[in-house]
Symmetry: C2
Subunit: 266 residues, 2 copies
């Protein structure tokens, strides 16, 4: 507690969505003060303020009289530029975004403001607690002193903080899309396929859980099984013929991933 | 133990791979007797026999003098037909296969033999213990009395036994390929992408674990996040442009799955 007090920053949250809603209370627990919350939808900002000690709603993007030294932008990627254009910040403050995909340069346009990235590599859902200590934070800054500040901020809530430039972070984000959003969607496609054929999707859950456990523990290459990996062309072909009758795009997807697996195990 | 004794079957295992190696000891624990093990590679059969009480190696597919009443075929799908053609079984015995993908009809060709399917929906690795109680067994039989026998056999080791015909089982198997083999391969592609760009793949593991937990608990549709689900076309497009420069097939895969996600959330 003593050490944390030593680095107590005043912070404003710009955005009150999933990321901001979990990050702001966590930063407070680490000894920082959230002074203001802005959201395009004032009632979201209000709801977040109610979970915080001293924060007040900022009804617009003019923060020129804010006492904060750090401004954390947690809005959807495609709104970052628009918000930055309207922002008014006190001189010599730090502006951070929390996006994996957007380069630090997307924050350009403000004078006398240090820039940085504060990207938690995790999926957030409002009201679902996460253990921040285990979340990797990828950080970047426009100068060494700002990097030091962001590092203190990140290390106060996570034990896994790494500096990473915008290009590598963008690649990491693509890898996250492949290994998370896309895997989840393949599970969704399995759900659609089973349910539309009067098969209980629940049957697959123990297998999915075991497969994911193996993938993370043994590594995905050692964990691979199935018709494509063992080059059982008869089964691969039978599956494609079956899917073509039901859903041409799914058949194409099946073929493409099977080919990619066969290439990897050749 | 008393109840299990009541239904003690003599069983021969044809095959000594991953499935047979875990299934045979489990059936023994449930009170059955494994009499013989056959494998194309006799030393695999020998290794499995060493883990069992009374089993002996059968060096060929002639089981005509066997005392077993149940013969479990646990060989790769594309070897089933070839093995069946060479099999010699005692009259009035039961022949089962353990495949998700192959129809029961793939066992046709033997006279006075009842047929059935005994499909454990799980991924097996030799020497890695699994909890059979949680594994769904999908069963099918050529007649009612055989179905009853297979049901007793399955319920002795699993609490989740369901009758399912060959067509539905084949669809379930495709769904398993999508949600397990393919998800694992997407994690592999993420591993390749990060490592070939000097990014630590380990960074993604907490996110993958959280995503899978959400997918299984909330269901994959509610759990979906990411650029395609929120129709962030700018990010989707930027990712495709990036991947096209690295790997055209991966770019195509990214586009196909993103389109499929967008369709699902439209």
């Amino acid at each position: 507690m003593f050490l944390k007090k030593k680095y107590s920053f005043k912070i404003s949250m710009i955005g009150a969505g999933n990321v901001a809603s979990l990050l702001a209370p966590e930063l407070e627990s680490a000894g920082h003060i959230i002074t203001e919350v802005y959201s395009r939808h004032a009632k979201n900002a209000q709801a977040l303020c109610e979970k915080l000690y001293e924060a007040e709603v900022n009804y617009n993007l003019d923060f020129s009289s804010s006492t904060s030294s750090i401004f954390i932008l947690a809005v959807p990627d495609d709104r970052i530029r628009e918000v930055v254009q309207q922002l008014n910040l006190p001189a010599d403050s730090i502006l951070l975004h929390t996006s994996g995909s957007m380069p630090m340069e997307s924050l350009y346009g403000l004078n006398h403001i240090a820039l940085g990235v504060f990207y938690p590599l995790q999926t957030f859902t409002k009201n679902k607690e996460v253990n921040f200590q285990e979340i990797p934070f990828l950080i970047e800054a426009s100068d060494a002193s700002t990097l030091k500040t962001i590092k203190i901020l990140a290390e106060g809530i996570s034990k896994n903080v790494q500096e990473m430039n915008s290009e590598q972070r963008a690649i990491l984000h693509i890898a996250a899309v492949l290994s998370c959003n896309f895997t989840n969607h393949l599970i969704r496609l399995a759900e659609i396929l089973t349910e539309s054929n009067q098969i209980d999707f629940e049957l697959l859950k123990p297998l999915i859980a075991e497969t994911m456990g193996k993938s993370l523990n043994l590594g995905p290459q050692k964990a691979q099984t199935g018709p494509a990996a063992r080059r059982d062309m008869e089964t691969v072909h039978r599956h494609i013929v079956f899917l073509k009758k039901k859903d041409k795009n799914l058949a194409k997807l099946y073929e493409l991933i099977s080919n990619s697996i066969m290439e990897d195990y050749s």
